[in-house]
């Protein structure tokens, strides 16, 4: 990853943390100051979906052209995407604790997100239970693509069909409609970009570590 991207990610995050905590936010019923959680909760899910998308992209490239590098990248993206998903879950539970009254409501969006994480945990289980390296890469690539397609309805379609308290579902307008005014956009979009860049950075580090480990094993 390019150096200037890393620097800009860090600078953007510094900006997001200071501006997100200090700048004025619109006064809204129930939400009050917790609306600031938007800067940290929503980018996690954006990041998760984008990272999983990258993971699927590398899985497809692996299936088309089996090279070890694509497999390593695909797994690294899935790992970091799952980490983002867990963070998004925790921030969402914190936020729900103050606005909905308790951390876990069994809301369709929450359940869908939890199952979506299970999909990727199953992916890691699959990788753990295959011994042959080439077979592991191919089968987990297939499952990765299939799982991503199965995950999309869970997060994006089913919550919209049922009644849900989460904004953007069950006939509720998305967050754009009422609580995201232009002041919040100034912080929110940089936050999305910055967290995604941080995710990419972690992925590139993980790929490099993996490559170095393999080099060490080869030399022994």
């Amino acid at each position: 990853m390019k150096g200037w991207l890393k620097i800009s990610a860090v600078l953007l995050l510094v900006y997001v943390h200071t501006a997100g905590l200090l700048m004025d936010v619109p006064r809204l019923n129930i939400l009050n100051e917790t609306v600031r959680a938007l800067y940290f909760h929503v980018p996690m899910w954006f990041g998760m979906v984008l990272l999983y998308l990258m993971s699927v992209y590398y899985a497809i490239r692996y299936l088309k052209n089996p090279s070890h590098e694509f497999d390593v990248k695909s797994v690294a993206y899935a790992h970091v995407g799952t980490a983002f998903g867990i963070l998004g879950m925790i921030t969402g539970m914190l936020w729900a604790n103050y606005t909905w009254g308790s951390p876990w409501h069994g809301d369709p969006k929450q359940n869908g997100a939890a199952i979506a994480l299970l999909v990727y945990l199953a992916y890691f289980v699959l990788r753990g239970s295959l011994d042959n390296e080439e077979q592991r890469a191919r089968l987990s690539g297939v499952y990765n693509i299939f799982a991503f397609a199965a995950m999309i309805p869970l997060i994006f379609i089913i919550p919209r069909l049922t009644s849900s308290m989460h904004p953007g579902s069950g006939g509720n307008p998305g967050f754009n409609a009422y609580d995201l005014d232009s002041r919040m956009r100034l912080v929110f979009y940089p936050a999305v970009i910055a967290w995604f860049l941080i995710g990419l950075w972690i992925v590139s580090l993980r790929v490099r570590i993996k490559k170095l480990e393999e080099k060490i094993i080869d030399n022994e």
Partner: protein, 153 residues
């Protein structure tokens, strides 16, 4: 349906490998599973309505949910079974891999079934039925495209 690839002996795989292309195999497995699933669910439905009573108020919707959900289960589980059969303890892995994938089909089917039981207006469950159909199409297409990569080993 977990049995579609897991229970098979090694020789069967080699035989299938020589006589058919992977696309033909997955399609035939899916068709077999769909027919099996339809048979079981319709037999179950008829037996239940004879021996117990039949609370379903909208039979057309109920039957179409039954048929669509069967297609969804067979298409996605056939592919997953193909993946799981390559691993060591495939029966456990089958459950782990398939649960998150079929749960969206299951949720849709449960909600549409509840509408049919309550005899709600048909417009209320068209969304779920269309969604089931869309998930089936995606699962079927992905199975068709991805199965050759599993089969090659």
């Amino acid at each position: 349906m977990a049995k579609s690839f897991i229970g098979e002996k090694k020789g069967v795989f080699i035989y299938l490998y020589t006589v058919a292309s992977p696309q033909q195999i997955i399609i035939s497995k899916i068709i077999y599973n769909i027919l099996l699933c339809w048979l079981i669910s319709i037999a179950g439905y008829i037996l239940f309505s004879i021996f117990i009573f039949n609370p379903v108020q909208d039979h057309l919707i109920f039957l179409s949910v039954l048929l669509l959900a069967s297609i969804g289960f067979s298409t996605s589980l056939s592919l997953i079974s193909g993946i799981a059969s390559k691993a060591n303890n495939s029966n456990v892995l089958m459950a782990v891999l398939s649960f998150p994938v079929v749960i969206s089909i299951l949720l849709m089917a449960v909600r549409a079934t509840k509408n049919a039981l309550d005899g709600l207006d048909r417009a209320a469950s068209t969304d779920e039925l269309l969604n089931l159909l869309a998930i089936n199409c995606i699962a079927g297409a992905l199975g068709y495209i991805l199965f050759p990569y599993i089969w090659r080993s």
